[in-house]
Amino acid sequence: MEQLVSALLIMIIGVLACAAYFYASNWLLDVLFPSKNKPADIVAKNIHITNTVRPWLFIGPALIALTFYLIYPVIESIRLSFLGRAGEEFVGFDNYAWLFSSDTFYQSFKNNMLWLIVVPTASTFFGLIIATMTDKIWWGNIAKSLIFMPMAISFIGASVIWKFIYDFRSGDDAQIGLLNAIVVFFGGEPQAWITVPFWNNLFLMIILIWIQTGFAMVILSAALRGIPSETIEAAVLDGANSIQIFFKIMVPQIWGTIAVVWTTITILVLKVFDIVLAMTNGQWGTQVLANEMFDWMFRGGGDFGRGAVVAIVIMVLVIPIMVWNIKDVNKEMEGR
């Protein structure tokens, strides 16, 4: 109870402080440079000043936060990647040399690539299939809602859910993990799935696919509904069957959206960390870059230099997407 009250108090103070900044700074500006009941030349000057200052009052906090939390760290990480464990002595390219000779790095990189290929593809694929089918049935919205639901579940929560499914009991004990129960039911041999090399990667990916399919589905479903129905009707009149209509008429018209969904999930996959941490912590050949970085950062005393190098690898992987996005938005802005 006491804890609840203090939590409540600190929340209110935090939010109010932020709101107060905006209110007070604008109020101060208007008081310092009033634009009412003054001679015209002073008004003109004051208006000019307030118009110059006010955008920065508005955007200032966001700009500072972005700089401090995202821009500065990127630069600092690059600097740290040339420094040693504690981030003090300059070691040149040693960290990079270590990186490229490290087996665990290769393994993480390979696994990450596997994630990058499998998860976005599978999620987009399932999303598209489900979006198409649910649009045709009367209870489609309920179905969509249920498939979308895992979106709301944390990676760690999802990990518990799936760890329970992959649970393994040795000996003759009844299997309480669903997967092994099914395997046993069909006469198979139960397994500790998350320790089976290589395949365990897929078992972890299923979790993310389970979460992300709903996202792909919602967006693709909106895109599908945006397709002008005349094009489909025309194809029907031309004698195309459902499959042909789907692949030759509908899919080509939503390529743009498919690409957006695909890249969004790709970015997410690059940062995937919680699932691996919770399920295997990188054991049994499931390490990925994000978790490896975390390892270097916090375990065994920490090696900031090596951690930074791994972070930079992740950054390099997203740069193409970043450039593409910026180009896109610039094109849009020119149209205005």
Binding site: Q3, A7, L8, I10, G14, V15, C18, N26, D30, R54, W56, F58, I59, P61, A62, L66, Y69, L70, I71, P73, V74, L80, I130, M133, I137, A143, S145, L146, M149, M151, A152, S154, G157, S159, V160, I161, W162, I176, L178, I219, A222, G226, S229, E233, V236, G256, T257, K271, F273, M297, F304, V310, A311, I312, I314, M322, N325, I326, N330, M333
Partner: protein, 382 residues
């Protein structure tokens, strides 16, 4: 849309069935978690949750009453009487007196044991242990039995995780982290988005491009430098480097690019004449923002609020790095991870804890799905 024919209606059946199977595949994992979390912990550990509604056969062991309670019966034997069942709804089928042969005797039979002792266990759990000599020893004798136990549901697991496992405390921590970390970035982003959409100042295009670029920067990049800076700041002010303000601001920084991007798209789409009209009416930018833009942007603000709420609530990484792992500050996700390590085999704890962590997001999700979908669409569909 298309003409209905018989081949089409059979195709529709395929669609119905496929979608049904997919829906089952997507919901069963969560359903399993929930069902398990309300099962009795003894049942949970020996049978799959899908059997939760059927009667389960369990091999159990109990101890008889303490030898103190023995009575000297009329036929000259020393007897201990009592009932071995905890719950009266189960029924015993077999019993035995040694761990080697726990199901040696059928229920109701008077079992002849060595030394002239006899043991009789009835279906309802009543037993009579009798011996020609006086019972000795400090503890009761073990009785092995096999019982049919009906399905049993309980909230005990929740009671346990909320109190002794400290989940209640973590729940409040999660709220204290999440609510400000949702509102503060919205406030900042809304102001910034308005400035980027409707105010003229040098460098505007550059800032917009930067925001779009930062949209994809992996936050792993930020952890090491920020951690170092936080430590410095903490030292400088002589306070701990881990606290609420630090994590609020961290979530704010990481959430801002998406927030600014989404809100700017929305606010830039508002009709310009309304804003000009307000300007002619004498409103300055602050008044335009607070009296016109904020009320009109409600749908966009709501969508982003839901995103940010889910994201912060579900976040593990930032909480681990910026909030520390001590008992007092642990948030739900962190607590769940801790339990996964320390109580890895206790599924009654894990399932109940996991459900506690996901219940709020699920409520938010089902309650405000409309806004969530709208936000997703405005962010991604070009």
């Amino acid at each position: 849309m298309m003409a209905v024919s018989s081949s089409r209606s059979s195709l529709m059946w395929v669609v119905h069935i496929t979608v049904f199977i997919l829906v089952v595949m997507w919901t069963v994992p969560t359903a399993g978690l929930f069902i398990s979390s309300i099962r009795d912990k003894d049942q949970l550990s020996v049978s799959g949750w899908w059997t939760a509604l059927s009667v389960s056969e369990q091999r159990l062991v109990a101890r008889s009453e303490h030898p103190d309670k023995q009575v000297f019966s009329s036929d000259g034997r020393y007897e201990i009487r009592g009932n071995i069942l905890e719950h009266q709804d189960s029924s015993i089928t077999k019993f035995g007196s040694s761990s080697l042969r726990p199901d040696e005797f059928d229920v109701g039979v008077v079992a002849q044991l060595k030394g002239g002792k006899t043991l009789q266990v009835l279906e309802n759990g009543d037993y009579i242990y009798s011996s020609p000599e006086q019972w000795k020893g400090k503890r009761g004798k073990r009785i092995f039995y096999t019982a049919n136990i009906p399905p049993r549901f309980t909230l005990d697991n929740y009671r346990e995780v909320l109190t002794s496992e400290g989940l209640a405390k973590s729940f409040i921590n999660s709220l204290a982290v999440t609510i400000p970390a949702t509102i503060i970035p919205i406030l900042m982003a809304a102001f910034a988005a308005y400035a980027l959409a409707w105010m003229k100042f040098p460098g505007r295009a550059l800032i917009i491009a930067a925001v779009v670029g930062l949209l994809v920067v992996p936050l792993q990049m930020s952890l090491i430098p920020l951690l170092k800076t936080y430590n410095l700041i903490g030292e400088f002010f002589g306070v701990g480097s881990k606290g609420y303000i630090g994590i609020w601001l961290a979530h704010t920084g990481f959430g801002l690019p998406l927030a600014i991007y989404l809100l700017r798209n929305y606010i830039a789409g508002l009709p310009g004449e309304i804003i000009e009209s307000a300007r002619v009416d004498g409103a300055n930018d602050f008044e335009i923002f607070s009296k016109i833009i904020l009320p009109l942007s409600f749908p966009a603000l709501a969508s982003f609020a839901i995103f940010q709420f889910l994201w912060v609530w579900n976040d593990l990484l930032i909480a681990m790095v910026f909030l520390g792992n001590n008992e007092e500050q642990l948030v739900l996700t962190g607590r769940l991870r801790e339990l996964l390590g320390s109580r890895g085999g206790n599924w009654e704890i894990l399932t109940a804890s996991a459900f506690v962590t996901i219940i709020i997001p699920l409520c938010v999700f089902f309650g405000l799905q409309r806004y969530l979908v709208r936000g997703l669409l405005s962010g991604s569909v070009k």
